[in-house]
């Protein structure tokens, strides 16, 4: 539902030139999200397709600095966490009585955190936009950080 809502929201805010591509990618993303509940490897492509809809909107409409990116980030994080929760619920393990509310509360918190972080990045970028090369530095640092995170995530424990 969140994936479909995200796709529809992007379709509504897209211009008439971009709406076809945005709707197409959004629906593909929503379908992949549904499939990712049972086939976990599809979660990455689902997120990529949903983000692709937003990328298409950015490329075709070319807004100066789109603050809706924070909303997209929140929606994508919530989609990913909901897929993870749905996979847990599909298993045989049940929570103790009284603990069932923790996961939705966590997902809501993570969504709000993602919204705030994306806002912060956009605010820094907006600040840097008027200072020329600062945006390049932010991008390079972010890419380096992403590579370090991927390397750490794939490293063996104790290695």
């Amino acid at each position: 539902m969140v994936a479909v809502g995200t796709a529809l929201w992007l379709a509504v805010v897209a211009s008439s030139d971009a709406v076809g591509v945005v709707v197409g990618l959004g629906l593909v993303g929503a379908a992949l999200t549904g499939a990712a509940v049972s086939v976990s490897v599809l979660l990455g492509p689902a997120l990529a397709a949903l983000a692709g809809a937003y990328v298409a909107l950015l490329v075709i409409d070319d807004p100066p600095l789109d603050t809706r990116a924070a909303g997209v980030a929140m929606a994508l994080v919530v989609v990913g966490e909901l897929v993870g929760w749905a996979r847990e619920l599909a298993g045989a393990t049940r929570d103790e009585p009284g603990n069932a509310w923790r996961r939705p509360a966590w997902i809501a918190g993570v969504g709000m955190g993602a919204l705030g972080l994306a806002w912060a990045v956009l605010a820094v970028a907006d600040l840097a936009r008027v200072q020329g090369l600062a945006i390049e530095a932010v991008g390079a640092v972010a890419a380096l950080a992403a590579l370090l995170v991927v390397r750490r995530g794939t490293a063996r424990p104790g290695a």
């Binding site: 976990s40 490897v41 979660l43 990455g44 997120l47 990529a48 983000a51 937003y54 990328v55 950015l58 490329v59 600095l65 789109d66 809706r68 990116a69 924070a70 997209v72 980030a73 929140m74 994508l76 994080v77 990913g80 966490e81 897929v83 993870g84 996979r87 045989a92 393990t93 049940r94 929570d95 103790e96 603990n99 923790r102 966590w106 993570v110 955190g113 993602a114 972080l117 994306a118 806002w119 912060a120 990045v121 956009l122 970028a125 936009r129 945006i135 932010v138 991008g139 390079a140 972010a142 890419a143 950080a145 992403a146 590579l147 995170v149 991927v150 750490r152 995530g153 794939t154 424990p157």
Partner: protein, 423 residues
Amino acid sequence: MTRAADARLGAYAVFAAAALVAALALRRTELAAIAAPFALLVALGVRARPPRLRAWFELDRERALEGDVLDATVTVRTDQAVDRVEVGLALPDGLELAEGRNPVALRLANGEERELPLRLRCVRWSSVEIGEVWLRARDHIGLVRFEGRIDRRRPLKIYPTAERLRSLVSPAHTQATTGSEVARLRGEGLEFADTRPFVPGDRVRTINWRATARRGALVVNERHPERNADVVVFLDSFAEARTSDEGTLEQAVRTAATVSRRYLERRDRVGLVAFGGILRWLEPGGGLVQQYRLVDALLETGVEFSYAWKDVDVIPARTLPPRALVVAVTPLLDERSIGALLDLCGRGHDLVVLEISPEPFLEPGSDRSDLAALRLWRLQRAELRARFERLGAAVATLDDDVTMEEALEGVRAYRRHARLVQR
């Protein structure tokens, strides 16, 4: 505990990297903003450390009967707080959960110990080991989980329930020691057999004074002594017909356990031959210890696939004593066991065949050729039963509609009839 990545970890990491590369390529800061929460989640998620978890398992007893409910407790203790730990007790075949939650997800505080009471129902006889506890822990983020198995296994024997039997098949021959079976021969006993003229050496108390008065000469009573018998339960474990829940072997073991227990209660000596891919045997013996030995041997019985041809020659001679009653419990599906039983008949053993009918486990097809095949198969089995009966071995068929008591009554009737013909 082993470390395993959740599917989200790879998806988030690749997505964040791709979004950042796209941000650089397209020169759009918005994509970096989208990537940032995912990158942060991955960075925090991979920092998770394995928790120190310990678990224990307790069971209220080591022996049970089919249908019994056991009380079990799984105890989990942690030295540090765990946001979510899944605890599961591996249930072996023959046990199912009657009450409680298994598996269950817990939230444990620092130094907390939690007991999980479970009630387990014994659904099928078996000899199992229970107590393998698996744990799966994760932190708040849940991108990395830690899995482990703690082995607290202990043996559990689930004995088959014995069916109620009022009477058994009397053996054709008895042994020398005292028992509950009225012997054919004459001697000291309770059951009246016949009268005969007095001979020197007869006890005065055996004189039948009424007959003596009528005949005018001393006449004494003869009696049948009470003796025991040797019974060998022949369990065919070469093949079985089964569905997912139940098979002929389960019923065969229950039948064998019932028969052996009832014969032991009559002070007979009972032995066992489990004739299958693996040959198991137990020499005839009596008493409570023998009863436990027999049941333990029955619990070990399983269908072991084998191409090896086996006949009665592989059975140790002492396991099949002469003049023993052989009670064969078989689905009559494998040529090797059928051949062995016919061989026993040919060698003069007193044989009774309790056939565990495989028909309840069949799902015949609906077309004409399938139905014709089923009719032919039934005819073949009827001919096989007739072949046993021609050799003097009674065959009783046990299925859902026929209880063991009814089947044994048929065997007793057949054996009374067969003796009359022999005379």
